[in-house]
Amino acid sequence: MDLLTKFRFVIACLFAEYAVTFIPVANCSIYPSEMSGDSASKLPSAAAIPVAQASTLGSFYSLSLQSTFPEDLEVDEYCVELLRVYRQRYVTFANCLVTYARPVKICQNCYTGFNSLDDIYKNISSDQLGPGNVTCHDSLMRSDRMMLLFTLYNNLQDIWTSAKCSKCLTEHQEALMNDTVYFMATLNQSLSCFEQYQNHTELCKDCKASYKRLNELYGRMEKNQTLCIDLEDAMNMTQQLWSKTYYCLLPREETVPVIAVSSFMLFLPVIFYLSSFLHSEQKKRKLIHPKRAKSSSSLMNIQDKFS
C-alpha cells in the first residue's frame, strides 16, 4: 500500500482525464507487459503505457463522448489507484488459471494470485475511508448496472470455490497441505511405475500395488473431504491411464457360476408353483342361494327374459 500512495500523484495527473473512459482500452494494451508483472513494483511503467496509447486514441473518443465530468462525479484518485491494482492482480490470476487449466493444477499454482486478488477486492469493497475521505466501494462497484468489478471477481471466486481449492490448502490458503503433497508423491510413484513397462499385462500386475495404494489414499481423502480439483483431475487421468490406456480391467471370469446360481434361483419359483398347483388343495367356495321372492329371476334367465 505504501508504494501505491507514493505513486498516487503521478497516476492522478496522468489519469485525471481519461481514467473512466479509457481504462478498458488501456487494459488490453498492457496485457503483454503484465504477463510477468507481479503487483505494484511495476506500477510506473505499466501506468505510462496507457497514457501514450490513450492520447493517440483520444481524438476518436472525444467526438463521441465528453471525457470530463464535473468535479464531484469524478472517481477519486485513490480509487483509481485501487482499480489499477485490481486490474493487475486480476489479470495475473486469470492468466494463471488459464495457464494451468489442462491438466488442472490451479490450486497448486494460483493460490498466491487468488489471495492477492482477494485482498484488493476486499480493500475496495470495504467501507473504510481512504485518504480523500472517500469510499471506493460506491464509486467503483456500484455506480453502474454492470458492476463489472463485482461480477468479474465473483466469477473467479466461483471458479475457485467450485474447484474446492481451499481443501488442499492450509487454513489461510498460504501453502499446500501435507496431505496434498503426500498424495502427489504417491501419484508420481504410480506414474513412474507405469513408465517402466511397455508390456501392458506386466504393468497391470506389477504396478497394481502402488496403484491400489493410490486408490486407497484417494478414497480416504475423499471421505475426509480433502480433495480439490487438482487431485481429482490427476486421479482421473491416472484412472483413465490404468483402465483405458493400459486396459487393466478386472476380468469377467465368473460367468458360469453366476449363471448357475441365477438359473437355480429362477428355477425355484417354477418348482414352487408347480408343487402348490399339484399338491395344495384348491380352495373352493360354497355357493349360497339367496332367498328370493317366488318370481325371482336367477341369473340364467335374465338373458331369456331379454329375448
Binding site: K284, A293, S295, D304, F306
Partner: protein, 771 residues
C-alpha cells in the same frame, strides 16, 4: 313379465335356483321334501371373480332417528354442537399429525435398513469383484432380501392378512360403505407399517406410498373414536363420534392425509377421498379433509427436516420426492402433445397387460397359495428372484457411465467398469425404487443407454406384476412409476435419435415423467386425483395439461381391455362394491326381483326367545329386521311396517335385558341411552356370548323406543337404478320393499344390488358364496 320368466326358467333350465332358495329361510322348509334338501346342499366351485362374499357387511351410514336419538338431541345445547364442530377440527388435526409421523417413521426406517443392506452388499461385491466369487455376493443379496421379506410376510400372513397389499382397494371399499373386517384396527396398522418397512427394505419391486393411505385411514378411525379396542384402552373422549356415519368422514380424512403424506400432495389427497367416497361429502367436510391433509404433509416435512439436520426447512413434502422439474427441461411444445397421447395409449396397453397377468396370478394365488406358510415362501422366493434378476442384469451389463460430481447415485457399483465409472444398470436396480425413479427423471441425458433401459423395463415389469398381490404390505404406485419412467425415458432417447437437431427433444427426463404417468394411469386408472397428485409431486403446474391428457388416454385405452388393478382386486375379493351407477340396461329389473324375500320381521313387542333364536340362527345372518305392527292372524300374511331395527341394537338390548317385564324395576335403574349403544360400537358382542335364561326367553321386548321409526321404503315396482341411486346416495344398508298396503314384502341389501353387473353378454348376476 315375472310369469314368463318363471316359465322360461322352468322349461329351459332343469336346475332351477329359485326353487331351492326358500330352504335357507327355514320358514317354508317344511313344505319341501327330503330330496330337495339333499339337492340343495351348497355347491362348491373354485374361486373366481363372479362371487360375492358373505363375510362383508355394509356400514350403517343411515342415522337411526329413534327416540333415544331425539332425546339426546333435545338435551344438547347449542353450545355443545359448537364444541362438536371444534372437536371435529381437532380430530382432523390429530389425524394429520399422526399420519405424518407414521410416514416419517416409515421413511427413516426404510432409508436406514436399505442403507445397511445396500452397503453390506456393495462392500461384498467390491471385495469379490477383485478376488472372484461374485456368486457369493449374489447369494448374500438374495438371502438378505429374503430375510427381510420373510419377516414382513410372516407378520402379515400369520397375524393380519388384511394388511397385505397396498390397502387402497380395502379403503376404497370402506369409503364405498362396505365393512371389511379388521381393516381399520390398530393391529392392522402396526403390522402394515412393519410389513412395509420389511418389504421395501427387502428390495421387492414395491413402494411405501399405497400403504400410507391405509395407515392414514386406520389412524383416522382410531383417533376419532378416542379409544382402542385392541389395547382395551378408552380415553373417554370423542364419544359422540362412535358410529359409522361419523367414522366414515374421518376415515376419508385419514385416507387423504395418507395420500398427502405419501406424495406431498394435499390437494391430491382431498381429491382422492372425494373420488373414492364422493357420494357422501359436503363443503365443510372437504375443508376439514383438506386441513388434515395439509397438517399431515407439514408434519412429515417438519420431522424429516429435523432428521436431515435442517430443522425448519420445509422443502421435502412427501415420502416420494420427484425432485424439481425446472429450467429448460420443463418446456414442452404443441407438437409434442400427439407424442404424449401416443405415450398415454402405450401406457394404457402396458397397464392392461399388467392387470391381465396380475389377474390370473391372483386367481391362482387365491386358489392354490392360500396357506400362510406357502404365502411366506412365495414372498421369499419373489424376493430372492428379484435379487437374482437384478444381479444378473447388473453383472452382464456393459453400460458404464462416468461418476458425476454431484453423485446422485447413492450406491454406485463399479463392477467391471473402468475406474471412476459406475455400472449404469446398477443405478436402476441397486437402489430403492424411489431413488431409481428420481434418477430416471433427473439424470442428465446420456446417463442411461437405450439397451439398459429396455432390459430394465422388461425385467422390472414382470417383477412388479409378480410382486403385487403377495402377502406383504406394499404398494404398486412406485413400481408403476418406475416402469413408466424407464420406458418413457427410452422413448425420449429414441426420439432424440430420430430428430437430433431439435434440442427440446433432447431432455429424456420429461418423457420419463410422462411415461411414468401413463403407466401408473394404465394400471390404477385413477383420473382426477392422480393428475393432481402427479402435478403436486413434481411441483410443476406446467405439466398439468400433458399429464391429464396422458392419464385420460391411458384410461380409455386400458378400460377397453380390462378394469383397473384395484377394481380387479376388489372383485377378486368378492366384495359387494357399488359403483357410481347401476349397470346400464337394468331398468326393467324391479325391486321385486332384486329383493330378498320373505323377510324375517319382528313385532313391535316381540318375545325375547324368538329374537334370540333368530339372531343365533347361523344359516341366515341378518343384520336388519323390519319391525311390523303386531299381527294377530296367521304368519303367512306379512305385517305392516313400522320401523327397522339392527342386530347390533338388539344385542345391546338383550345385554342390558330391556324387557317389558322388568319395566317396573327399570324405573329405579338408569334408562338405556344412546351412549350404551356407542360403547359397544364397533365390536358388538356375538349373540352366543349373551346369556338368556329360560325364564327370560318368555319375556317380551318393546322395540318401539329403539327402532328407526322411519326407514326408507320403496314400492315393489321401483326399478333397479332407482333403488341403486337411493343406496349409493344415502349410504343405505337396508331398504324395505313394501306393497301398496305398506306390508313388508322384501328387503334389499347391498349384496342384492352388487350382484348385477355387465358381463361379456349383457347383464350377469354374481353368486353369493361363503369365503
Amino acid at each position: 313379465m315375472a310369469n314368463i320368466t318363471k316359465k322360461v326358467s322352468w322349461s329351459s333350465r332343469g336346475d332351477d335356483r329359485g326353487e331351492r332358495t326358500p330352504l335357507l329361510n327355514g320358514a317354508e322348509e317344511a313344505k319341501y321334501n327330503k330330496q330337495d334338501i339333499v339337492r340343495s346342499r351348497p355347491k362348491e366351485i373354485p374361486h373366481n371373480e363372479k362371487l360375492l362374499s358373505l363375510k362383508y357387511e355394509s356400514l350403517d351410514y343411515d342415522n337411526s332417528e329413534n327416540q333415544l336419538f331425539l332425546e339426546e338431541e333435545r338435551r344438547m345445547s347449542h353450545m355443545s354442537f359448537r364444541c362438536l364442530e371444534i372437536t371435529r377440527w381437532v380430530i382432523c388435526g390429530l389425524i394429520g399429525i399422526f399420519t405424518g409421523l407414521i410416514a416419517c417413521m416409515i421413511d427413516i426406517a426404510v432409508e436406514n435398513l436399505a442403507g445397511v443392506k445396500y452397503f453390506a452388499v456393495k462392500e461384498n461385491i467390491e471385495k469379490f469383484t477383485e478376488l472372484g466369487g461374485l456368486s457369493i455376493s449374489l447369494i448374500l443379496w438374495a438371502v438378505l432380501n429374503s430375510a427381510f421379506v420373510m419377516v414382513g410376510a410372516i407378520t402379515v400372513a400369520c397375524f393380519e392378512p388384511i394388511a397385505a397389499g397396498s390397502g387402497i382397494p380395502q379403503i376404497k371399499c370402506y369409503l364405498n360403505g362396505v365393512k371389511i373386517p379388521r381393516v381399520v384396527r390398530l393391529k392392522t396398522l402396526a403390522i402394515k407399517v412393519f410389513g412395509v418397512i420389511c418389504s421395501v427394505a427387502g428390495g421387492l419391486a414395491v413402494g411405501k406410498e399405497g400403504p400410507m393411505i391405509h395407515s392414514g385411514a386406520v389412524v383416522a378411525a382410531g383417533v376419532s373414536q378416542g379409544r382402542s379396542t385392541s389395547l382395551k384402552k378408552d380415553f373417554k373422549i370423542f364419544e359422540y363420534f362412535r358410529r359409522d356415519t361419523e367414522k366414515r368422514d374421518f376415515v376419508s380424512a385419514g385416507a387423504a392425509a395418507g395420500v398427502s403424506a405419501a406424495f406431498g400432495a394435499p390437494v391430491g389427497g382431498v381429491l382422492f377421498s372425494l373420488e373414492e367416497g364422493a357420494s357422501f361429502w359436503n363443503q365443510m367436510l372437504t375443508w376439514r379433509i383438506f386441513f388434515a391433509s395439509m397438517i399431515s404433509t407439514f408434519t412429515l416435512n417438519f420431522f424429516l427436516s429435523i432428521y436431515h439436520g435442517k430443522p425448519g426447512q420445509l422443502s421435502s413434502p412427501g415420502l416420494i420426492n420427484f425432485g424439481r422439474f425446472d429450467g429448460d427441461s420443463v418446456q414442452y411444445n404443441l407438437y409434442e402433445i400427439p407424442l404424449f397421447i401416443i405415450m398415454g395409449a402405450l401406457g394404457g396397453m402396458l397397464g392392461a397387460l399388467f392387470n391381465v397377468i396380475n389377474y390370473w396370478l391372483t386367481i391362482f394365488r387365491i386358489r392354490y397359495v392360500h396357506r400362510p406358510c406357502l404365502q411366506v415362501m412365495e414372498a421369499m422366493l419373489v424376493a430372492a428372484v428379484t435379487a437374482t434378476v437384478s444381479f444378473a442384469m447388473i453383472y452382464f451389463s456393459n453400460d458404464c457411465q462416468p461418476l458425476g460430481q454431484d453423485s446422485t447415485e447413492e450406491y454406485p457399483l463399479q463392477l467391471f467398469c473402468a475406474d471412476g465409472e459406475y455400472n449404469s444398470m446398477a443405478t436402476a436396480f441397486f437402489n430403492t425404487p424411489e431413488r431409481s425413479v428420481r434418477s430416471l427423471f433427473h439424470n442428465p441425458p446420456g446417463t442411461y443407454n437405450p439397451i439398459t433401459l429396455g432390459l430394465f423395463t422388461l425385467a422390472y415389469f414382470f417383477l412388479a406384476v409378480w410382486t403385487y398381490g403377495l402377502t406383504v404390505s406394499a404398494g404398486v404406485f412406485i413400481p408403476s412409476l418406475l416402469i413408466g419412467a424407464a420406458w418413457g425415458r427410452l422413448f425420449g432417447i429414441l426420439l432424440s435419435y430420430i430428430a437430433s437437431s431439435q434440442s427440446i427433444w433432447a431432455d429424456p427426463g420429461k418423457y420419463a415423467l410422462i411415461g411414468a404417468a401413463a403407466q401408473l394411469g394404465g394400471i390404477v386408472r385413477m383420473t382426477l386425483s392422480l393428475t393432481v397428485i402427479l402435478v403436486e409431486a413434481t411441483g410443476n403446474v406446467t405439466y398439468g395439461f400433458p399429464i391429464m391428457l396422458v392419464l385420460m388416454t391411458a384410461k380409455i385405452v386400458g378400460d377397453y381391455f380390462i378394469e383397473g388393478l384395484y377394481d380387479i382386486h376388489i372383485k377378486l375379493q368378492s366384495v359387494p362394491f357399488l359403483h357410481w351407477e347401476a349397470p346400464p340396461t337394468s331398468h326393467w329389473l324391479t325391486a321385486r326381483e332384486v329383493m330378498s324375500s320373505p323377510v324375517t320381521c319382528f313385532n313391535r313387542v316381540e318375545k325375547v326367545g324368538r329374537i334370540v333364536d333368530v339372531l343365533s340362527n347361523t344359516s341366515t345372518i341378518h343384520n336388519g329386521f323390519p319391525v311390523v305392527v303386531d299381527t294377530t292372524d296367521n304368519d303367512d300374511e306379512p305385517g305392516k311396517i313400522c320401523g327397522l331395527i339392527l342386530r347390533s341394537q338388539l344385542i345391546v338390548l338383550l345385554k342390558h335385558k330391556v324387557f317389558v317385564e322388568r319395566a317396573s324395576s327399570r324405573l329405579s335403574q338408569r334408562r338405556l341411552q344412546l351412549k350404551d349403544f356407542r360403547d359397544a360400537y364397533p365390536r358388538f358382542p356375538p349373540i352366543q356370548s349373551i346369556h338368556v335364561s329360560q325364564d327370560e326367553r318368555e319375556c317380551m321386548m318393546d322395540l318401539t323406543e329403539f327402532m328407526n321409526p322411519t326407514p326408507y321404503t320403496v314400492p315393489q315396482e321401483t326399478s333397479l337404478p332407482r333403488v341403486f341411486k337411493l343406496f349409493r346416495a344415502l349410504g343405505l344398508r337396508h331398504l324395505v320393499v313394501v306393497d301398496n298396503e305398506n306390508r313388508v314384502v322384501g328387503l334389499v341389501t347391498r349384496k342384492d344390488l352388487a350382484r348385477y353387473h355387465v358381463g361379456k353378454d349383457g347383464l350377469e348376476e354374481l353368486h353369493l358364496a361363503q369365503t
